[in-house]
Symmetry: C2
DNA sequence: CATGATATTAATACTTCTATTAAATATTAT
DNA sequence: ATAATATTTAATAGAAGTATTAATATCATG
């Protein structure tokens, strides 16, 4: 008997389960044994498809990292004002994070515990960060020369967007456990926070 | 032969080493065996002083968490303007993070992988978050009524400060591995970033 | 200096995890 | 139908980790 339905292969089920667990607890606290237990298959099967836990993680992580890094890559729309473009960038980035709220955790966790793994990631994402930076820089400089935006660097702007949009999702347990916030209160905050982040970013540009 | 010099007990050396390792790699990837190896003592000694890895971690973590949460607790100075008070809050918080750059990682990592552990933390830090919130709310509302600050909530303001000041330190590996930033470039960014964060926060308050 | 307390080590039981191998079973193609 | 191929399982080797216990060393003090 096969473990999978027709449209989802066993390999896919294993990958999905692994993804869920890695997102929940990170690499170190997830075992292939547990993955197998949840999938309902023999533990050797996990290794049959992915050989090592490391390779399985890479499969999960490179996809996750792709979503994560692409989230800021929305191209400028020449028909819109700079301000509108920035607003869109903040909002789409926020939306991607909101749909993948554990991504920031996995990303930071893994990069901080295991920076070596990430040389491969570097090649994978390639020129994306650099081109994002250049694109932002160009648009920003136009505005700065016009005097509509205060002098500032693209890296600072991007880092601000990045910071504001990530911490809210990294902080779910902090806010709930320490801040004594309920699940619903937290969800309300997440709702509210996108607008606030846009506001902060746009105001921060003012000359 | 004792392992420690006169002014540092063995227990302290073990605690310090454990702190360094937990900060570097988090709970899961640090073993009592490795701690002992680095200290240069028998592995049983780590358990002799701290009984379990969990209790050792708690000793490290509750101290770390204390620094982390206290960092925002600077009381308002009534002699200074609201703006100056906010500036000071951002700056002192940033400085604490800069002196303890691995704290944000440990904090978020542990709260995300192991939220249970943190119920004890909740009691430990007590009313601090609540009083911080109330204090900020009060000062903020005065300004909002005066019309010098746009309508906004204290939680959003604090979250903005928190976000801006943390991500720069969480991102060290991201920026170096992915952004292709050198150690020195990163340090320059850290230098520069405090002023930028103050600017962003203050501009974000404008009516 | 004898003795009780404290510190340290050696040895080891026990658990859990990763990875491999060989065998069994299911699937597919001819 | 059967041979080839793919999938799955059982069994297990081996590594590493946590925790405990009993034995030994060190130290302070009467």
């Amino acid at each position: 008997m096969t473990l999978h339905t027709n449209d989802t292969t066993t390999e896919q089920v294993i990958l999905d389960t692994a993804t869920a667990l890695f997102l929940e607890k990170g690499y170190a606290l997830t075992s292939t044994t547990e993955i197998a237990r949840i999938v309902g298959c023999n533990q050797a099967l996990v290794h049959y498809y992915f050989r090592t836990k490391d390779r399985l993680f890479d499969a999960v992580f490179s996809k996750a990292a792709g979503i994560f890094t692409d989230a800021l890559l929305l191209p400028m729309d020449e028909n819109l004002s700079f301000e509108e473009n920035v607003r869109r960038k903040v909002e789409t980035h926020y939306d991607v994070m909101k749909s993948n709220p554990r991504l920031p955790f996995l990303f930071f966790n893994e990069l901080n515990t295991n920076p070596e793994r990430l040389s491969l990631l570097r090649t994978k994402i390639g020129e994306a960060p650099r081109s994002l930076m250049l694109q932002t820089e160009r648009a920003l400089n136009v505005e700065i020369e016009k005097g509509t935006v205060r002098p500032m660097t693209a890296s600072n702007l991007l880092l601000t967007i990045f910071s504001l949009n990530l911490v809210i999702f990294l902080s779910a347990p902090v806010l709930q456990v320490l801040g004594g916030m309920t699940e619903t209160e937290y969800e309300a905050l997440v709702e509210n926070r996108k607008r606030e982040n846009v506001t902060v970013v746009l105001k921060s540009l003012r000359a």
